[in-house]
Amino acid sequence: MKNDKDFINENYLNYVKSVSPKTNEPRSLIRAFFVGGLICCIGQGIRYLFEYAAGLNGDELAAYVSAVLIFLGAFLTGLGVYDRIGKFAGGGSIVPITGFANSVVSPAIEFKTEGYIYGVAAKMFVIAGPIIVFGVFGSVVVGLLHFGIINIF
């Protein structure tokens, strides 16, 4: 026998399911594939451009390419274009580095009304903060382990 609480929850969950937008799953996967692939190809294009026009290579080349992509992602987010791409592409626009830029600029603009310190500067790290925390923490663990392996064995 169900009690009232379960019954209400079930009704509510069914309601949420009926109201929330239906994601057409095969189509969303195809969209993510194409937009994600396209953004990576733009990255590769910039890579070739810098390689031949500026004579960059190796890590320096990769760093400048990601800086340009972050610039583009941040700029398009400011214009409101990137959020439209995001609605269309889902994972295709989140995972590339331009999506990282989007996750910085989007909340920063949103919370502008709370001021330039606690609004913009604090809220820009809502999503980017955890990425930097896990990234730096992970890299220190990897670096120390590697240092240990090199020096002990």
Partner: protein, 117 residues
């Protein structure tokens, strides 16, 4: 080359979309998991194969950022303890700096568009 970039970059994004569809994971979580995945794979030297194969198709997704952090840390470890600690963030320095500088700049220049949609 562009075909390889497109295929690998697209595949990584499709994997993210699969996670969104079937686990209702939010964007922030996916970014963190993909970053850690890239970092761990490169710790065992595996992500390098993908980078050599697909170039920007592997470095542009956020897992490439994890790859960069692990690679920097491991190269630093060869030089000494100081570089083992700072190597990761040094390698990722351009990306993080660009995100902060451009992020703050464009947040100052643009107004919220969300109400207009």
């Amino acid at each position: 080359m562009f075909l390889k970039v497109f295929a690998v970059g697209g595949a990584i994004c499709t994997l993210a979309q699969l996670l969104i569809n079937y686990t209702k994971m939010t964007a922030g979580r996916i970014l963190v998991y993909f970053l850690i995945a890239g970092l761990v794979l490169q710790t065992f030297g595996l992500y390098q194969y993908l980078v050599d194969f697909a170039g920007a198709g592997a470095t542009v997704p956020i897992s490439g950022f994890g790859y960069l952090l692990a690679k920097g840390a491991m190269e630093g470890a060869k030089k000494g303890l100081f570089d083992a600690i700072t190597g990761g963030i040094t390698a990722a320095g351009m990306g993080i700096t660009a995100a902060i500088v451009f992020g703050y700049l464009f947040a100052l220049l643009f107004k919220s568009k969300s109400k207009m949609n």
